[in-house]
Symmetry: D2
Subunit: 359 residues, 4 copies
C-alpha cells in the first residue's frame, strides 16, 4: 500500500478525498495535514465548530480510525514521510507549498495554482493521459524528484470528456456553452447563502468563464515531446449557479470541422474511453460517457452518481438549427467527484500505475 497525505484535509474537498480513499486497494491515508488552526488536534476535533457541531459535511460516515488521526501542519509538513501527496488547499496556499512538497514527492492537486504553467499538464482520465509525459519535462525544468499534477476546473472536467470524442472524430471549430452549476462548487466556508440560492439563479461565478473558455484547448491539445500545442478552437461560456446540491450541467452548442450527424456523435461518445476503462483503475467507471435517449435527461439529482460519480451523462444530442455542422447537447458531471477529489484520485491511480509504475 502506498502512503498518502491529504493536505487541506479539513476542507470540503479534503473530506471528499478521504471518502474517495476509504477502502482503496492501493492507497492508505497515512497523514492528514491542514493549516495551523487545525494542526496538533485530532481530526474529529479539528472539524468541530464554535457550537460543538461537526463540520464533517459528507453524508458518508467518517471512519473512526480517520477521525482519531492527528492533524499535522501544512507549512512544516515533511513530504518525504509519504509516497503521494493529495493537495486540496486553495490556490494561494497551493502556490506556496506544493512546490516545496514536489521537490521530493509527487503532488496530485485539485488547486488551480499550476494549471496554466507551460510545463504542467492538466490530466483528465481517458482524455489526455499521453500528456503525463510532460511531467518529466516539469521535473527536469524545476529539479524536482516529485511533480505537481493539477486537475482541471470542475466545469471543464465534464465538458472536455464530452468534447474529446467529437474532437477526435470530427474536429471542433467553436463551442458556445451555458453551465448550470451546483452549489457545492462554491465550497463551504462560508459557501453560498441560503437566502440567495432559494428558488433563484445567480447568473455569474467569478473567474469561472475564463477557465471554461481556456482549459479545454490545452487538455485537447497535442503533446509534441516538449510542450503542449493547444487545440485550435474557441469557446464562449456563460456560467450560472443553480439551486442544485451536486452535478454541473453544461448546455453545449458545438460546430465541427467535418460534417456529422447526431447519431454519429452519439456513437462516438458512447464508445469513448474503452481503452482507458480497460486499465481498470479503481476509481474509473466502466463507461466514461453514458449517452441517453430519454429527452428529459440528464438530470443532476438522478444521474450524477452514475459510475460512482465518475460517468458523464450526455443527453439531447441533436443537430443545431443555426450552424453548419452544428451539434447541440446537454452534459452532466458530478462536480465534487469527477470534477474534484475523485477525478484527481483517478489521475493519481493512472500516474502511480503507468508513469511511476509503483503498482
Amino acid at each position: 500500500m502506498l502512503k498518502i497525505a491529504i493536505v487541506g484535509a479539513t476542507g470540503i474537498v479534503g473530506q471528499q478525498a478521504i471518502v474517495s480513499l476509504i477502502g482503496h486497494p492501493w492507497f492508505k491515508i497515512e497523514k492528514l495535514v491542514a493549516s495551523e488552526r487545525s494542526a496538533g488536534k485530532k481530526y474529529i476535533d479539528a472539524l468541530k465548530d464554535a457550537n460543538g457541531s461537526s463540520r464533517w459535511w459528507c453524508t458518508e460516515e467518517l471512519p473512526s480510525d480517520i477521525a482519531n488521526m492527528n492533524v499535522e501542519e501544512a507549512a512544516s509538513f515533511d513530504a518525504t514521510s509519504v509516497d503521494i501527496i493529495f493537495s486540496t488547499m486553495d490556490a494561494g496556499a497551493a502556490k506556496e507549498l506544493e512546490p516545496k512538497y514536489a521537490k521530493t514527492t509527487p503532488v496530485i492537486s485539485t488547486a488551480s495554482a499550476f494549471r496554466y504553467e507551460d510545463d504542467t499538464p492538466i490530466l483528465v482520465g481517458g482524455v489526455n493521459m499521453n500528456h503525463a509525459a510532460l511531467l518529466a519535462v516539469q521535473q527536469k525544468n524545476r529539479g524536482w524528484k516529485g511533480f505537481i499534477s493539477p486537475k482541471p476546473n470542475c466545469t471543464t472536467a465534464g465538458l472536455v470528456i464530452s468534447l474529446k470524442p467529437i474532437h477526435d472524430a470530427f474536429g471542433i471549430k467553436q463551442v458556445f456553452m451555458v453551465s448550470q452549476q451546483a452549489m457545492s462548487g462554491a465550497g463551504r466556508t462560508p459557501g453560498l447563502s441560503a437566502m440567495d440560492m432559494t428558488e433563484n439563479i445567480v447568473p455569474y461565478i467569478p473567474g469561472e468563464e475564463q477557465k471554461a473558455e481556456m482549459e479545454p484547448q490545452k487538455i485537447l491539445g497535442e503533446y509534441d515531446g516538449k510542450t503542449i500545442k493547444n487545440a485550435n478552437f474557441s469557446i464562449s461560456a456563460t456560467c450560472t449557479r443553480v439551486p442544485v446540491l451536486d452535478g454541473h450541467i453544461v448546455c453545449a452548442f458545438v460546430q465541427t470541422e467535418k460534417k456529422c450527424s447526431a447519431e454519429e456523435v452519439k456513437i462516438a461518445m458512447a464508445e469513448h474511453g474503452r481503452d482507458f476503462a480497460e486499465l481498470h483503475l479503481p476509481s474509473s467507471p466502466p463507461q466514461l460517457i453514458d449517452v441517453t435517449d430519454d429527452p428529459f435527461r440528464p438530470q443532476p439529482r438522478m444521474d450524477r452518481d452514475k459510475g460512482g460519480g465518475m460517468t458523464v451523462t450526455v443527453g439531447r444530442v441533436r443537430k443545431d438549427s443555426v450552424m453548419e455542422n452544428g451539434i447541440k447537447y446537454v452534459c452532466l458531471a458530478h462536480n465534487t467527484k469527477l470534477g474534484a477529489a475523485k477525478g484527481a484520485l483517478q489521475t493519481a491511480e493512472y500516474l502511480v500505475k503507468n508513469y511511476l509504475k509503483l503498482v
Copy 2:
C-alpha cells in the same frame, strides 16, 4: 368602463388575469367563463378541490365581488355580452372557441392556437405595435367584426424585447440561447412534480424550443401592409426547467450584422421603448428594459417583479469570445406577468386605445 370576460377563468392564467385587472382604470370584469365542470357555480366554489381546499393559487387575495360571481360556460358563452374577451384557455379549446367569439368581439388570447397564422400578428408591447394593422386583414379575410390577438410564448416574450433594440441598431445575424425556465410556466393541473424539481434541473420542455426558435423572427419582421415578412436570422435554443417559481432566464449569444460594443448595446437597450412607455398604458412599466451593471444580476427572485412584473432585466452584457460582432448577455422576464396574462393585458390596452380607439 369596458366590459371584459375572462374565459378559462379557473385556470392559473385566468387567475392571473383577474389579479391583473383588479382596480384597472379602463376594464371591468363582467363575466367569468370556464368549462362545463365549473359552469353554473359561484367562482369561489368552482375553485374548490375534492378536499375542500381552494385552488386559488395567487398570493394576492381574491376580491369578494369576484369570488361571488357566477361562472358561465365557455361553449355557450354569448360573446356580445362584453366588449373584450380575454381568453386563457388551452390551445385545443382556443382553436375551437376563439373564432366563434371573434365573429363579434375582440379576443385577446394567451393561447398559441392562432399565433402562427399568416393573418395574425403576435403583438409584444413596445416591439411591434405596428403589426396591429394586420388585424384588419384578419378581420377582412375571415369576415369577423372582432379579431384574435395572441401573445407570444412566455420565453419569447422576454427575449424578443431584449433583441428588438439590437435588431434595430445593429441587425441580428444569429442567436444561440439557453433558457432556465420557472416552474409556473408548466401550469398547475397537475404541473410539475415536487420530487422531480427539488434540487434538480430538467433539461427539456416539450415544444418550447421550436417556439423560441420561430416566433422572434415573426415578431421582429416587417409588416408591408398585407403580411409580415419574417426577420432574416436564425435561433438555436436549448430550453431547461429550473427550481424557480417565477421568472424565465435566457442566456443569449447574439451575432450582429454591424459591429457593436457592449456599451452601445447597453445604451440601445436602456433607451428602448421610450415612445411606448409614453403612451402610459395602465400595465406598461416606466422602463421596458432595465440594464444592470451588477454582474450577479438579473436574478429571478430579486428582479422578476420590477415594473410590476413588466420590466425585462438585462445583465452581464459583454463581448462574445467566439463570434465576430458577437454580444452575450443574460435576460430575465416574469413569465406569468410579462410573459402571460399581464403582457396580454398590455396589448389589450394598446389595441383598445390606439386600434379600436375605445378609450
Copy 3:
C-alpha cells in the same frame, strides 16, 4: 434462495423493494406483478411514460435482468409460484388481493389494509417481534397457509423505535408530536406539486395523524397468546409536509410514568435493540438508534441514510420544561427505507428465519 414476487412493482414502493433486494443473500426476485395496464410488458417498457421517459424513480440503477423481466397481472397472479409475496399495492387493491394470495403464501405488505385487524400484528424490527406469534392466530382464524404481515405507517415506524426503550424503562404516559414529513411519502402518481412545495410548508396530511395517534399503542402493546393488548398511553399529533426529499422528522414531547433524566433516556436509546441486531438480518443496521449530542442534528439530508437507511437518529434529548417526568427530543427515520420497503423486508427476513424457519 427463496423466490419473491413483488406485487405493485411499477410503483415507487415497488421500485424501492427491488432496490432493497438487489444482491440479497436469501431472496431472489422471481416475479414482478402489477396492474392490468402493465401486465404482459417487459418491466422497463411498463415504466415508460407517454413521452418515452422512464418512470424509474430511484437513483440506483435498474439492473438489466430485472429490466427485462415480464410483468404479470396482479388479479390473476398465481401465488403458489413463489415463496414470499412482497405487496406494495395501495390499500384498495391490497384489501382485495392480499387475502387471495395469503391462502397459500406469506404476504409481507406495505399497505395499511390489514394493519388494524385484531388478528394481525404490525411488526417493527427490534420492537415487537414477539407479536409474530399472532400470525398463527391469523392463519388459524382465516384458514390460510400463508399470512398477511403489514408494516406500520412511515411516521409511526421511526417514532415507535424511539419510544420503545422509553416505554420499557420508564413507561409512557402521553406523547405530543409534530412531524415534518418528506415529500416522497406522498408517492409519485402524481405526488405533490412542485409549486406547492417550493419554499413552503403544508400543515396537513390527510389521514396521517389518526395513524400516528393509534398505531404505536398496538405496536408497543402486549401479546398474551391470543391477542394484543394495546399499551395504555395517548398521543396527540400534528403532521406536516416539508420540502425535503426523504426522511421524516418527529419532534416529540413524552411524559413518562417513572422519573427519568435525559441522560438515562439517551443510554436506554443507545442500547436499544442489541439482541435484534445480533440476529444479523441482512437488512438490519448494526445500531437501531444512533443518539447524537450535536444539537444541530438529526438532519434529514445528512442522517437519513445511516445504517443503510435503517438506523433511527435521535438528537436534542432534554428535559421537558412543562411536564413532570417529561422528556423531549427530535427523531429522524428514512421514510422510504426504514418506513417502507426496506423496513418490510427486514420483517420478512425475521419471519423467514425465526417464524417460518426457511433459512
Copy 4:
C-alpha cells in the same frame, strides 16, 4: 411629519424598516445610521460588497432619495436630531447605544437587549398596549426623556397573538409548541448556508427556545401600575429551521383552564383585536387573526403577506386528543414583517398616537 432615524440601516432589518416606512403618512426617514464601516458613505455605496454587487436584499426597489442619503455613525449619532429612533442593531450594540439615545429620544427597538428588564414592556399590537404605561416607570427610573420599547422575538410575536384571545376567554394552563422557522430569521451576514438548507431541516436554533418559553408570559401578564405580573402558564418549545424564505409556522398544543370547543376558540380568534384595528394605525391590518377552515392552510408562501404581512393566519383548530381542555392549531406569522420591522413600526405608531400623543 415626525422625523425618524433608522439605526442599523444597512442590515436586513434596517432595510425592512426602510421599506415599511416608504410612503408612511406620519413618519419621514430623516437619518440613516450605521456602524463606522458605513458611516460617511452614501447609503447605496455603503450597501456595495467587495464584488461591486448591491447588498440591498429586499425585492422592493430602493427609492433613489433614500439611496442617496448620507450614512451617519451610530456611536456619535445626535439623538436629538430626530423625533423617533428606530433601532435595528444587534443585541450587543443595542445594549450600549440605545440607553444613550433614550436619554433624549424615544427608541423603538427590534433588539432583545432590554426585553427582559423589569421596567420595560414588550409591546405587541392588539395584545398588551396597556403595558405601554410601564414606559413611564422606565423613564422615571432611569431619568430618561425618551424610552426604549423593544419588540418580542419573531416566533413569540405570532404565537402570542394567537394565544391572547384564548388566554382572555378560557385561561391558558400549558403550551407545547414546535416552530418551523423561515431562513430570513437568521439574518444575512452571513446567514444560513445554502448547502445546509437545501431539502433539509435543522432542528435547533440557538437561544430561540428560551425566548419562546419565556416571553409570552410577560406579554400576556398583568400590569398593576408598577410592574408586570407574568401570566401563570408554562411553555415547552422545540424550534426548528426549515427551507422557507419568510414566515414562521408554530404548531401549538394548548391546554386551557376552562372547557372550550374548537368552534369557540375559532370565534374568539376571529374576533380578536377589533378595538385595536379600529385605531386605524397605518401599519395595522384590518384583521389581526385570519382563521381558516381550509385544512391545508396556513402555508408560509401563500399566507405570510396577508394584511401587508401583519395578519396572523390560524388553521387546523381542533380538539387535542390527549389533554383535557386541550386545543391544537397551526399558526403563521411573517417573521420579518409582523415579527420584526413592521411590527415594531406598528408599536411606534401606537406610542406616537396614544402615549406620546404626537399625531
